[in-house]
């Protein structure tokens, strides 16, 4: 049924349809709507789950590690500082191979105190062993959350589903909310490959000395590699049942494009308009939207970008002392190609600043008009500031 939902609602509907059994979360703007809605579902029995209120995000994830170890489907949601506080247990979740699913609303980290969209919070956690999926629309958010449970449980790795703060979490769009029977066909009950139960007492995650630890890490790496195929299989199933899918990547008019804009999240939607307009003006431009960031789909990216002359990566994030994080990854992915496009890195929209069609057009024109890229990232639309403020 089509409904008008904000991105937070779309996540909550997906969690309800996934028949999650244990939810634990700590409120943080702009994620709170998700867990508020879920708390209501639990209270009115629309969802038969235990909702554990805890004193911090660290405890929220710790509680789910316990629940998931017992073989039940689990969910949490957080954002920014909350995700940072979870850091220790992010590693634990993946190391313990627990299929916890998390909605992560991308919000800037403080200070200065800022609650608006910025991807640095989740990208800073890229090495924790979580699968990462970045969404563009409310519909994609609902669909991806459903897929996340299937994916996590198939590869025994936790999955993070990312939404841009406010641009997605608080923006209402028409969303097709599937009925329960259809979802049940796509997502059967969770049958864990291992679980601690009173009938099967065992201890998990105990001491792993040097003779086995490395193999355990390699096993996570292998599972990450297998995730690419598993995700493709899940998308295929999803499309068969629901008639739509979104892809680990989406290439828009890339076949003949001379310049390809690499985007993620809601910036993609604005870029689609700009590309349509530029194409109308005869510009050969396309978009590569990257949804699956971990595992990073290197061969798919090579395939999509190999024919372009220039690539402009737009990052709403930054790794201090280096560059935009998507740009780093794209550069690394293309490095082995004998002939590769010139890669431009742009930083835009940090801390929720609007990335308008003008911003994207400026990026495109800068890329088209420059033969080679600078070493440094290009910060788009920086204002003049008075550096003396801090001295007063």
């Amino acid at each position: 049924m089509k409904r008008v939902l904000e991105g937070s609602d779309a996540v909550a509907e997906a969690v309800r349809l996934a028949k999650v059994e244990v939810i634990s979360a700590y409120p943080i703007t702009p994620q709170t709507h998700i867990v508020e809605r879920l708390a209501e579902f639990c209270a009115n029995r629309t969802l038969n789950a235990r909702f554990l209120r805890v004193e911090s995000e660290h405890s929220a994830l710790a509680a789910l590690i316990g629940a998931s170890s017992m073989g039940v489907r689990t969910f949490t949601a957080t954002s920014s500082q909350g995700l940072a506080l979870m850091h220790e247990l992010l590693h634990w979740t993946s190391g313990a191979r627990l299929p916890v699913v998390m909605a992560e609303v991308n919000r800037a980290l403080a200070p200065g105190w800022n609650i608006w969209a910025d991807q640095t919070d989740s990208l800073a956690q890229r090495d924790t062993g979580w699968i990462q999926l970045y969404c563009e629309t409310c519909q994609e958010t609902l669909d991806t959350t459903l897929q996340a449970f299937s994916l996590a449980e198939r590869v025994n790795l936790p999955v993070m589903v990312m939404l841009d703060a406010f641009f997605l979490s608080h923006t209402f769009e028409p969303v097709d909310v599937p009925d329960q029977d259809t979802v049940d066909r796509f997502l059967p009950p969770f049958h864990p490959r291992f679980a601690v139960t009173p009938e099967n007492p065992c201890s998990l995650s105990q001491m792993a000395p040097p003779n086995v630890y490395m193999e355990m890490r390699h096993s996570i790496h292998e599972a990450m590699q297998q995730t690419l195929d598993e995700f493709a299989a899940i998308e295929e199933d999803f499309e068969n049942i629901f008639g739509r899918c979104h892809g680990a990547l989406e290439a828009v008019q890339c076949e003949d494009a001379e310049v390809i804009l690499v985007t993620s999240g809601t910036i993609t939607s604005t870029a689609r308009q700009v590309v349509e307009e530029l194409r109308f003006q005869g510009e050969k431009v396309g978009i590569l939207k990257i949804k699956l960031f971990r595992p990073f789909p290197v061969s798919l990216i090579r395939q999509a970008l190999r024919c372009a002359q220039k690539v402009a990566v737009i990052d709403r994030n930054f790794s201090f002392g280096a560059s935009g994080i998507f740009a780093q990854e794209v550069r690394a992915a293309l490095y082995e190609l004998a002939e590769r496009p010139t890669i431009f890195g742009y930083i835009a929209g940090l801390g929720g600043r609007d990335v308008t069609s003008d911003t994207i057009e400026e990026i495109y024109r800068h890329t088209r008009n420059h033969a080679s890229a600078e070493e440094e990232s290009i910060w788009v639309g920086l204002h003049e500031v008075d550096h003396a403020i801090g001295n007063r």
Partner: protein
């Protein structure tokens, strides 16, 4: 639908089916939690040392008989005390610092009434019969309580009473709007069922005490205070100047004269308040004349508040100077008093404010002054020599060598029903120790039965019941984990409307439903005692708190307890303690 066949996903994790029990992590412990029940402040303040936190706990669970028996362990008069005790317990209730005190007296009365309605018979342990016999003079609450506890300790008792009915002031004095006669009779009947002989209408004289040695091994003297002292002012002997206690006695018998005009009641104790409230019910305006300040009045606060509600006026800092009779009316002249000093307890000392007098036209004067012993031989001996002074009693030997205990209003620091009961209990325990172990053992044995840091004695502790295992540490508010409690208003005691109250002698406080009683009891923190909330077990990160078949239902497995102290911290009511582990 078919899924694309994929090869099994790599999954290499650490997992073991070996038990970890061989690793006795309890050896890491340097702090040791233990179940350690403590003392609730209410039970310390209760002169009868009732185990209030346990009474509330049992009430919450609907175990009304058990709750009632818990009162009976320490006090033979639940239905009476639930109505008229001034409940000092509520003044020290830890819950006061959170929202409002538990309505302890309302629950006590509910339990007393429930027992009466369901004709419950208590099952209380009794000691094997002892050979000593005790005579008790006065069937007031002190004497009856002494008989009750002595009977339970195995002694044969005879209670002698001058009046035609037992009960003392509870029977003939307390107006029926506060205490219905039926409630008192049922409680006295239960004492008689223990085999106590109650002999009413007996003339008692000094001779009795001298003769008692022949038939008894000890005597308890309890109360019998009836003659009020004198005002010593001109006109005091007018026919319209009456004794307040005699008036109350007359009214309680059902003789309800119509009063007109304003009656003056001289005095500031509970008798004065009772007289004034009765006078209002009989049609008069009542004016209490108080020598001291209103805040220094001896009467219990709640009684004063109710009297003011009913229209009684209180004139503070006034002393009667003379009473003149003119045309069938009285002219009461009052001397104004002034505060000269306020002592450390906050009580004012007053003296006449020279030249300031005021006269009032009134129809009658009731004297409700300090009472004294009915017979001179009932007075406490003037000298302390050979007298063992206990908080609520005095123990000595007669010239014939017979042990005599002075109790009730003769010896208690506060003249209240619960102090009288306390004196009866104190006398019973003191005599039991005296007969068994001799007089030197009395003080140490009784001190060991004191609740908390107070002066009240517990029968249950004396006979070695479970309560004797508790620590005397009195739980303070800051030792309660208030995270586990929610603000809940105290039950509003249902009462007759003010207009209904002053038209009759019908009981003012109405009974409450069991639901309300359970709800109100559920507000109790249960300070210091385990109510099996299970927090200790649920929070133990090492699963070292185990369910077991003991009265508490759970115990600590010290093989695996690391001494983190979470159980102690999360115990809402301080029923656990964390102590330093002592090397073996």
């Amino acid at each position: 639908m078919t899924r694309k066949a994929t090869k099994p996903v790599s999954l290499f994790i650490s997992k073991s089916h070996l038990t970890t029990e061989s690793n006795k992590t309890g050896s890491w412990r340097f702090l040791r939690p233990r179940y350690h029940e403590k003392t609730a402040p209410c039970s310390v303040a209760c002169p009868a040392a009732e185990d209030i936190s346990r009474i509330e706990l049992l009430t919450t669970r609907g175990l009304f008989k058990e709750a009632w028996e818990t009162i009976l362990m320490e006090n033979p008069f639940p239905a009476v005390c639930g109505r008229i005790c001034h409940h000092p317990c509520e003044k020290v209730c830890n819950r006061r610092e959170f929202d409002e005190a538990i309505a302890i007296h309302t629950i006590e009365r509910f339990l007393g009434e429930t027992a009466a309605r369901d004709s419950l018979k208590p099952s209380l342990e009794r000691s094997p019969a002892r050979k000593q016999k005790i005579a008790i003079v006065g069937a007031g609450p002190g004497g009856l309580a002494a008989a009750y506890f002595l009977a339970r300790l195995g002694y044969a008792c005879d209670v002698y009473e001058v009046m035609p009915e037992p009960g003392g002031a509870l029977g003939w004095g307390i107006p029926s709007y506060r205490l219905v006669v039926a409630a008192l009779k049922e409680e006295i009947a239960r004492i008689a069922e223990l085999g106590v002989g109650i002999h009413c209408g007996k003339e008692l004289s000094e001779e009795f005490l001298a003769q008692a040695k022949n038939s008894y091994d000890a005597v308890f003297l309890g109360g019998a205070q009836r003659h009020g002292s004198r005002l010593d002012i001109p006109g005091e002997d007018s026919i319209s100047v009456k004794d307040g206690l005699a008036f109350l006695q007359r009214v309680k018998k059902g003789d309800t004269p119509t009063l007109r005009g304003t009656v003056a009641v001289i005095g500031g104790g509970n008798t004065a308040v009772d007289v004034a409230r009765c006078a209002v019910r009989l049609g008069a305006k009542a004016l209490i004349v108080l020598q001291e300040r209103l805040q220094d009045m001896a009467a219990f606060e709640n009684e004063v508040r109710m009297a003011l509600e009913e229209g009684v006026e209180i004139l503070e800092l006034c002393r009667p100077a003379r009473i003149d009779t003119a045309n069938g009316e009285l002219l009461l002249t009052l001397q104004r008093m002034k505060v000269v000093d306020v002592d450390a307890q906050g009580k004012a000392h007053v003296s006449p404010d020279a030249g300031k007098t005021e006269a009032f036209r009134i129809s009658r004067v009731f004297k409700a002054l300090d009472t004294e012993a009915a017979e001179p031989w009932m007075n406490l001996p003037a000298s302390d020599k050979g007298v063992l002074a206990l908080p609520n009693t005095r123990l000595l030997r007669t010239a014939q060598g017979l042990p005599v205990v002075f109790g009730g209003d003769l010896a208690t620091p506060v003249k209240s029903v619960s102090h009288a009961i306390a004196s009866g209990k104190e006398a019973a325990l003191a005599l039991d120790v005296l007969f068994r172990e001799g007089s030197d053992a009395i003080l140490p044995r009784l001190t060991a039965c004191t609740i908390g840091d107070g002066r009240s004695l517990s029968m249950e502790v004396y006979i070695g019941g479970p309560r004797s295992q508790r620590s005397s540490h009195v739980v303070r508010y800051n030792e309660i984990n208030i995270d586990y409690f929610q603000f809940t208003p105290r039950i509003a005691q249902p009462r007759l409307l003010k207009e209904e109250r002053i038209r009759s002698f019908a009981e003012i406080d109405l009974r409450i439903s069991s639901n309300l009683a359970m709800q109100e009891a559920g507000r109790c923190f249960n300070c210091g005692i385990c109510n099996q909330c299970d927090n200790c077990r649920l929070f133990c990160p090492d699963l070292a708190v185990k369910r077991e078949k003991s009265p508490r239902g759970r115990g600590i497995n010290y093989d695996y307890c690391k001494g983190c102290g979470i159980c102690v911290k999360e115990c809402p009511r301080n029923a656990m303690s964390l102590e330093e582990e002592k090397p073996e």
